[in-house]
């Protein structure tokens, strides 16, 4: 058996003249949780539906576990999907919902129900089998939807923005539950979200999409530390993107001032330089670094946030609450602990 769960080979999905997914290629490893991340309308849902077989591609080739499924209908792909709206059948109770897939695949009623009950138990839903979906809380509905998908032992499990209908408190718990379950059962999961924090928190691999194409794919760490371009740097957490110049290894100039820093290799010359708000060290005036003046200061409990006017432009800086505090009007020096020189956006 191969170690690849899903392969896209130059897959295109066009609606009329508009390409929602544009010549996308990737190979996703088996047993990993991969997130599709990107702004609204970039084609994440369409990509997921292509995997599921709910849309058929207008070009390219799709494989699941080495088998060509490009022209296969959804019902025959052995995948399972958890819908954004959960799509629980309102006229069936929880047990009927969960055993539905087994029944339409030809299982006997008794065995389907016992499997469904076992799955409900795994997800901590025992005792709710006779309830209708409308009689469950949002979190319970979500778990029923997951149970309904998992009971079929799918090759791939797909989630489309599974947390978007939950309140903020529940989100963190549910996403951790999903991650635990995925690890425990060694599932291949594709997970769509537009929230980068969510993506960073749960993924083995993140695949950032932009306008129907894949902008970059990598581990959460790699995307955060080593973004391919300004779009990704900005999308993966906040970044100050400023015009500067690379002078040599670990040496740049910002606002005409030469600075020592830590950075990835980049040829000398003018460049866009991204600086994460937390990689800037604020020190009293006179220390080495970019001189600046505090415009605004806010205390957020765990952190402090500043807006600082410098010769290189305005910088947004986050410091730990334990670090020394500055007030608006104070002159400071900004040391760049780490910067990311950017390749121009494609």
């Amino acid at each position: 058996m191969s170690d690849v769960s899903i392969t896209f080979d130059r897959v295109t999905k066009a609606f009329g003249a508009f390409r929602a997914v544009d010549e996308v290629s990737f190979a996703l490893p088996r047993g990993a949780l991969v997130t599709l991340l990107g702004p609204s309308g970039c084609g994440k849902t369409t990509t997921l539906r292509l995997v599921a077989g709910l849309e058929l591609p207008t070009g390219g080739r799709i494989e699941i576990e080495g088998k060509d499924v490009t022209a296969l209908a959804a019902a025959e792909r052995k995948i399972a999907m958890v819908f954004q709206s959960y799509a629980l059948f309102p006229h069936m109770n929880v047990l009927e919902n969960v055993s539905y897939g087994l029944l339409v695949n030809g299982a006997r009623k008794a065995s389907a129900e016992s499997e469904a009950l076992a799955m409900l138990k795994t997800l901590g839903l025992d005792g709710l089998g006779q309830r209708l979906p409308s009689e469950l809380s949002g979190g319970q509905q979500q778990r029923v939807a997951v149970a309904r998908a998992l009971v079929l032992r799918p090759k791939v499990l797909l989630f489309d923005e599974p947390l978007s209908n939950l309140d903020a408190r529940l989100r963190r718990r549910v996403r951790e539950d999903i991650r635990d379950l995925q690890k425990k059962l060694d599932l291949s999961v594709v997970y769509v979200t537009h929230d980068q924090q969510e993506a960073l928190a749960v993924s083995d691999l993140v695949c950032v999409m932009r306008a129907g194409k894949i902008a970059q794919m990598g581990t959460p760490n790699a995307l955060y530390e080593d973004p391919a371009d300004a779009f990704i740097a900005d999308f993966m957490g906040e970044a100050n993107v400023i015009q500067g110049e690379v002078l040599g290894p670990n040496r740049i100039a910002l606002g005409g001032i030469a600075l020592d820093t830590v950075m990835r290799a980049h040829p000398p010359g003018a460049a866009q330089i991204a600086v994460r708000p937390e990689s800037i060290l604020l020190q009293p005036e006179g220390s080495p670094g970019l001189p600046g003046r505090i415009q605004r200061a806010a205390f957020l409990g765990q952190t402090r946030e500043y807006e600082i006017q410098t010769p290189a432009g305005e910088l947004f800086v986050v410091t730990p609450a334990a670090s020394p505090a500055f007030a608006p009007g104070d002159a400071v020096s900004c040391a760049m602990q780490r910067v990311i020189p950017l390749r121009p956006a494609a």
Partner: protein, 723 residues
């Protein structure tokens, strides 16, 4: 469902049709001779050489059989064989008719074949098999998401729609353009522009105007008056703060269950020459007896009585949908009551007003019963078409041309509506939980409405009172009000000796009516829901065309349908006139659009992700339909059942052309009684019909109501609350 399964099923069906079922004849009587004579299966006919030209059908079937039996599904071969079988049967059916060779040009090829009567059950099965083979072939080649079930539904419905909606239309067109056997476009032009249709003589002289002008005048008046009356009713019911909810409710149910011409009977009883009111006026005020009710005034009155309640329902809904907060906003900005009404309420009502007018207009165009009973010398298109076919001067060409004119008017009205609605979009934005008090009517307006509405309601009550009483008194037409069971006995007498003997003269037609309605209703509802599901949930090439074909029959007036069916299905290959089957088919395809609309509306309430969830879990189209979609659509299905049943019981315009001595329908029987002057029997029979339909409608309403409560509130995220 896979292509192979469908292909095999098609093969088995077609084989039975070919080997066993009688090839010709749809009537059961012929079965006695099976498998010889009139009931011979095609196999026997092929072997004895009397249908040698149908060998290709058997050959095509034999060509696909080996692959299918060996478990392969050859896509292209199945498509070719299926399409070939269907095409060949129809081609030969047209080429060789009851008098032998019909297409003389083929004499060198076919010689002088024996006569070939109409297709029967065997042919039907082979045709169905052909369509199924073709669908299986399409699915095997990847169309319709490779789902043979969907493919079969689409191809099958397309085949039926073509045969029973499109072909009749084409037939009527060609009937209008042929004179005998001669192609004569000039004759069509002459018929379409005849003074009979367009004369304006009535403006200057005492002669009647052209029938097109009559029709337009009547339709416009009916539309305007019904809409205004309906508006008065709606304003008073929603904003008038008046009692009488039951009376208003009754107003909305009555037109649903009244055969269209029954109101005419009551009007004759009231205002005819010997009518109750006429007599009263003559005796007390010396107003001379006259026949004024026969003509425009009478027909108009009858149509408004039927249409005003429909307009009321539409406008009532629209008025309730206007969020009170809009009006409250206007009044908080200092507008006076009348100003609020003028500047906010009225503009928001405009689309509903237009819809009500157009509905009245179109219904008046299509109405046949009332002009037939009350029209007198005032002819409209629908009656003129009827007499061109059924009258002394049987002239199908003229009937067809008039039918085209009527069709053009109806399509014109619908096109106008589409254009008008497309041009301006009013949306009343109503958030849920939008409360507030609706603004009460301005005083003057309320008074005006009351002055019209209450008398009209009283008048309606009198009309229905007449119908209620008329069957039970000796001769209501002449004012003889002695109680009697005589009319009911004439119609519905039952005798018991050695079992039940239905002696009454009305039983036959009543039984046929109920039987036909009871068969047509589930077919209509079923096909309607399936089509709605295909249109709403499946994406395939030609979906728009399918939807258009479905909706087409909605815009065709009943009279035109009747004429076109008579012309299209009177001769082989599909000869249906005189059977009960043609009545059923007619009802199914006439009521289909309403079933489809209802299904579409219901499906719009059900999130598509439910279907998709089922698909990702391995549910094919068939399982999804059966286990997920149909259970959720139950209320829509029941409503569509009720609608088609009631419409099949009250329709007269199309079926008056299609009934026969053996298969008469209640409405046509009643019209016959009226023409024979047996008013009381007609009224008695109408009462029976109304009671039956009332029971059905109320029963079904109860059922649907319970179904909705029983389902408990659905998840807001997956299903939005239905109306």
């Amino acid at each position: 469902m896979g292509a192979l399964t469908l292909g095999r099923a098609a093969l088995i069906g077609a084989a039975i049709g070919l080997l066993l079922a009688p090839w010709h004849g749809l009537e059961n009587g012929a079965l006695a001779a099976w498998p010889r004579g009139e009931a011979s299966p095609l196999l026997a006919l092929l072997l004895d050489g009397s249908r040698w030209w149908l060998w290709p059908v058997a050959a095509l079937l034999a060509a696909v059989a080996p692959a299918l039996l060996r478990g392969r599904a050859p896509g292209l071969l199945m498509m070719v064989a299926g399409a070939g079988i269907v095409a060949w049967i129809f081609l030969m059916g047209h080429a060789i008719g009851l008098n032998g060779l019909a297409w003389k040009g083929l004499a060198p090829l076919l010689g002088a074949p024996p006569p070939q009567p109409s297709l029967g059950w065997g042919a039907l099965m082979v045709l169905a098999g052909g369509v199924a083979l073709f669908s299986a072939g399409l699915a095997a080649r990847g169309s319709f998401g490779a789902d043979a079930f969907v493919s079969f539904l689409v191809c099958g419905s397309a085949f039926l729609l073509i045969l029973f909606v499109f072909v009749p239309l084409v037939t009527i067109l060609s009937a209008a353009i042929y004179e005998g056997d001669r192609f004569a476009p000039d004759a069509l032009a002459a018929r379409l522009t005849a003074p009979e249709a367009w004369s304006l003589a009535c403006v200057t002289t005492h002669a009647g105007c052209g029938v097109v002008w009559n029709t337009l005048l009547l339709a416009t008046l009916t539309g305007v008056i019904s809409t205004l009356l309906g508006l008065g009713f709606a304003l008073l019911a929603v904003r008038g703060n008046v009692r009488g909810a039951v009376a208003f409710r009754a107003m909305t149910i009555l037109p649903l269950i009244t055969p269209p011409f029954v109101v005419s009977l009551a009007l004759i009883v009231l205002f005819g020459r010997t009518g109750i009111v006429t007599g009263f006026l003559w005796e007390n005020f010396d107003i001379p007896r006259s026949r004024w009710i026969y003509g425009l005034p009478g027909v108009l009155l009858a149509q408004v009585l039927a249409q005003a309640p429909v307009a009321f329902m539409l406008l009532d809904g629209a008025l309730r949908a206007i969020s009170p907060s809009l009006e409250e906003a206007a009044s908080t900005m200092g507008a006076r009551r009348f100003k609020v009404f003028r500047s906010v309420t009225w503009p928001l009502l405009k689309p509903a007003l237009a819809a009500a007018f157009l509905l009245g207009f179109v219904e008046s165009l299509a109405d046949f019963g009332n002009p037939l009973v009350l029209g007198g010398d005032f002819d409209v298109l629908s009656t003129r078409i009827f007499f061109a076919i059924a009258g002394a001067r049987h002239d199908p060409g003229r009937a067809a041309a008039l039918a085209l004119l009527l069709l053009a008017l109806t399509f014109g009205a619908f096109a106008f509506q589409a254009w008008w609605l497309g041009k301006r979009r009013y949306t009343t934005v109503t958030g849920k939980g939008d409360s507030g008090l609706p603004a009460p009517l301005p005083k003057g307006l309320k008074l005006g409405c009351s002055l019209v509405v209450w008398p009209w309601m009283a008048f309606t009550a009198v009309v229905y009172g007449i119908i209620l009483v008329g069957g039970f008194v000796r001769d209501i037409g002449r004012g003889d009000m002695t109680f009697t069971w005589r009319h009911f006995l004439t119609g519905f007498e039952v005798e018991w000796h050695n079992g039940v003997d239905f002696r009454g003269s009305a039983w036959d037609s009543l039984f046929t009516t109920i039987e036909v309605a009871a068969i047509a209703a589930p077919l209509t509802a079923g096909l309607g829901i399936l089509l709605a599901w295909l249109i709403a949930r499946q994406s395939f090439k030609g979906r728009g065309t399918l939807e258009f074909m479905t909706m087409l029959s909605f815009a065709i007036p009943g009279t035109v349908v009747g004429v076109s069916y008579v012309m299209a299905f009177n001769v082989p290959p599909v000869e249906l006139t005189g059977t009960a089957l043609i009545l059923i088919i007619c009802f199914v395809f006439r009521n289909l659009p309403v079933g489809v609309r209802g299904g579409l509306a219901a499906l719009a309430q059900i999130d598509k992700s439910l279907d998709e969830a089922s698909a990702t879990m391995g549910g094919g189209a068939l399982s999804t339909l059966r286990r997920v979609v149909l259970p959720l659509l139950r209320p829509a299905i029941v409503a569509s059942l009720a609608f088609s049943f009631v419409h099949a019981m009250t329709a007269v315009s199309a079926v008056i052309f299609l009934v026969s001595a053996q298969h008469n329908l209640a409405t046509v029987y009643i019209v016959g009684r009226v023409e024979a002057g047996e008013m009381a029997l007609a009224i008695a029979y109408s009462t029976v019909l109304i009671v039956i339909m009332l029971v059905v409608v109320l029963g079904i309403e109860k059922l649907v109501g319970r179904a909705q409560i029983g389902r408990r509130a659905a998840t807001p995220t997956t299903m939005h609350a239905g109306a």
